[in-house]
Every structure is written in structure tokens, then in C-alpha cells.
């Protein structure tokens, strides 16, 4: 998953940027569902008596999101194991952002696989601008938003626009929604609600509309977008 760290502060050092990457690598080691020696894997094998405070916080957000999304967001898998990946990414970006703020770095943009936390201004002294990718045409941008410190996350599948079908039911229509972009108080909020909303299919944007501090832009397979009431406020530069 590509990680882009951009820091616009004049006094930034290579070590500052490295520390962000080091943090993400550390999180990957500790919380990957796919690494045998991660805390998540050890928890799933019942090898841990006491969970780390970080793990407890991740599980707390998972449970909170499950309740807020009426069960659509759920990190427990059919095989009984727990996969907290749906929380970990947003949580890690939020923490990396706090790490930079603690170093008195004020102007930055962190983008991990399309989930974004920005702060302050870009190198030109302007608001950070974020393009929403066209899920039906990957090298195209269909909206430009200015989050002004809010978090941004997109959930969906870019493949559904092309030749994807369910091999068990080739004629069955897939869900109409191909992606939903959510703007939230921070990237963790945006990410967990984007994930939950996408799982709701066409109702995702209605769920986002119901959340007081979230806005969303949902795109269906026909290239029609539905936006929440407050979304246009983020279009102004």
C-alpha cells in the first residue's frame, strides 16, 4: 500500500519523514492480520493474556463503529478470528499525524492508500487539495476537495466498473455503489465510517448524512454521484 508523506514546513528534516515511515512499519508489524508474530495473530491464537493499550484502543473503536453502524462494520470473521484492519489504517494515520504535531510540524499531508490526514497549508501556502479518484476510470479525478484539517477516506472497489462478476451467479447484479468518500473530524473517523458506509451499499450515503460530523460523496456504477447536504462546503478553496 503506497504511503506518501509530504511536509511543507521549512524546518523539516529527513529524520522527521523517516520517523513517520518507521511508525507505519512498526504498526504493520504489530497489527497485521497476515503476520504470524503480530499481536493480532497471537491474540487470535489465544496466546495473549493482556492486550496492549494500543490493541485495546483499536478494539474499542471497532466495537464503537459496529454499534454506530448497526452491525455493518464488524471485525469478527466467520472463522472466529478477529481482523481489525478496518480500524488500524485510520488509527495509524491519526497517530502519525499526532507524532508530527508533537514535533511542532504543522503543515503536512499523510496519504496511506487513499486515506488522508492533512494539517496546515501546502508548500504554496494554500489549503491542501485532495482529488477524489474516479472509481470507474482510475487515472481521472472527479472532484477536488479542501478538507481544512478534516480527515478523508474512500472505501470501495475500483474494479467493479470493468469486467467483474460473481462467478457463482454471473448474471446477478452487483451493488450499484462503487465508491464512497467520507470527510470526518479526523482520518480515523473518516475511515471507519467510509468502511461501514460502503458495506451498506446504496444506503451508505444516507448513513453518512445521519452522522453530525461527517460528509460524503458516493459514486455509483453509472457514474452518478450522491452527496451529503454539507459536502459542498469542502469544495470551496
Amino acid at each position: 500500500m503506497p504511503i506518501v508523506v509530504e511536509i511543507a514546513d521549512a524546518h523539516v528534516s529527513a529524520a522527521d519523514i523517516e520517523s513517520v515511515f518507521a511508525y507505519f512499519i512498526d504498526v504493520e508489524k504489530r497489527f497485521s492480520f497476515f503476520k504470524d508474530d503480530s499481536e493480532v495473530s497471537r491474540m487470535n491464537r489465544g496466546e495473549i493474556r493482556e492486550l496492549s493499550p494500543d490493541m485495546q484502543e483499536i478494539l474499542f473503536f471497532a466495537e464503537k463503529t459496529k454499534q454506530e453502524s448497526h452491525g455493518y462494520f464488524d471485525i469478527s470473521r466467520p472463522d472466529g478470528r478477529t481482523n481489525p484492519s478496518g480500524i488500524v489504517k485510520g488509527w495509524a494515520i491519526r497517530n502519525a499525524s499526532r507524532l508530527l504535531l508533537a514535533k511542532n510540524i504543522q503543515n503536512f499531508c499523510l496519504n496511506v492508500g487513499g486515506d488522508i490526514q492533512s494539517h496546515g497549508k501546502n508548500e504554496n501556502g494554500s489549503e491542501w487539495s485532495i482529488g477524489i479518484r474516479n472509481p470507474l476510470k482510475r487515472n481521472e479525478i472527479v472532484k477536488v476537495i479542501y478538507p481544512r484539517g478534516a480527515g478523508v477516506a474512500t472505501s470501495g472497489s475500483s474494479e467493479r466498473g470493468s469486467h467483474i462478476y460473481d462467478p457463482h451467479a454471473p448474471k446477478k447484479e452487483l451493488n450499484d455503489v462503487v465508491s464512497i468518500t467520507v470527510i470526518g473530524l479526523d482520518v480515523l473517523e473518516a475511515d471507519r465510517f467510509a468502511t461501514a458506509a460502503f458495506a451498506m451499499g446504496n444506503d451508505g450515503i444516507i448513513f453518512i448524512e445521519s452522522l453530525p460530523a461527517c460528509e460524503g460523496y458516493q459514486i455509483d456504477r453509472n457514474g452518478v454521484a450522491t452527496m451529503s447536504t454539507g459536502f459542498p462546503q469542502y469544495l470551496a478553496r
Partner: protein, 170 residues
């Protein structure tokens, strides 16, 4: 339009890929995700050619190489056959692909599993349907600092395809 790849090289931006994806996988993904028809073949640069796929691939257990209908020129990095990738978690469900190798190159990728089990019929109770603004999406020419787009299922796709190709390696 914005070149998404060039963006990571601009200014102070530093990019790092945590997941190492070898070039052929990235290329195959690009081919697959683009508007290329299913019969497009990923060929080596030295021998660019198009080959039609003989017949749709039926799901098989892995790996099950079958004789190639293409004559001896097996220049690509893989052994001909159909290879089933491991099941990868796309969070919403599982993704599993099968890669077909013809003349040593990827000729087709099919989805054996894809998340379809969402509870879409369930309504969010007690809430009146708000009237939300709709619009047709339109390409923007503006330059942006960064881009947000969906990744989860793409990642699972790459994971499953990577394991299929690992089996096909010479």
C-alpha cells in the same frame, strides 16, 4: 487529468511501498483494471504480440498446468497453465483469482471469489430518506496535492494474484 504516479515524485514527497509488488503483477493489474478486453495478452517487450485465449478457463484446483496451444516459444517468466491464488481478505469478503499463463505470460485473470454478501436490503430503521443532491461525475483538470481512492479490494486482488503467479514461476 492528473498523472497519479508522477505525483509521488514531486517536491518533497517521499513514497514507500510497504507491499512489494513485482512489475508484472502491477502491469497485469493495470491491464485488467483498464478498459482492455479480456483477450488482451501481457507480452514481453521483445515479443509484443496479441494472442486470443483459446477458451474460457474453468475453475480448477491449484496448480494444474495444461498444455499450451501456442507453439514452443515460451518466452515469458511463467510456466503455462492455470493457477489459483490464495483467498485474500478484502475486508468485506474474500477475493480469489485464477491466473492463466499462455506462452509464459499472463493471458487471463478470472475472479473465483468476490465479495457479494452484503446485507443491502437491510434498511437503516426509523429514518426518513433525505433528499440528497446528485450529479454526473465529471473529469476535473485541476492539479491536486494528493488523491483519495478505493484500495481494499485492489489490495486483495494483488495478494491473490501474487500467490497465483508465485506458483507459475519458472
Amino acid at each position: 487529468m492528473v498523472d497519479l504516479r508522477a505525483q509521488t515524485n514531486v517536491g518533497r514527497k517521499t513514497a514507500l511501498s510497504l507491499v512489494l509488488i513485482f512489475v508484472s503483477v502491477a502491469y497485469a493489474l493495470q491491464q485488467h483494471l483498464g478498459n482492455a478486453p479480456a483477450t488482451t495478452v501481457v507480452s514481453t517487450a521483445s515479443q509484443a504480440q496479441e494472442i486470443s485465449i483459446p477458451a474460457p478457463v474453468q475453475p480448477t484446483s491449484s496448480p494444474s498446468p495444461e498444455p499450451s496451444s501456442v507453439p514452443a516459444q515460451n518466452l515469458g517468466p511463467y510456466v503455462d497453465g492455470a493457477y489459483t491464488g490464495k483467498v485474500a481478505d478484502a475486508y468485506y469478503g474474500n477475493v480469489q483469482v485464477q491466473a492463466t499463463i499462455v506462452a509464459g505470460n499472463i493471458s487471463d485473470i478470472q475472479f473465483l471469489q468476490y465479495p457479494t454478501d452484503r446485507k443491502t436490503s437491510q434498511q437503516i430503521s426509523g429514518r426518513a430518506m433525505p433528499i440528497l443532491k446528485q450529479e454526473a461525475i465529471q473529469a476535473q483538470s485541476a492539479q491536486v496535492d494528493t488523491v483519495s481512492g478505493a484500495t481494499e479490494i485492489s489490495n486483495a486482488f494483488v495478494t491473490s494474484l501474487g500467490s497465483a503467479l508465485a506458483q507459475a514461476k519458472k
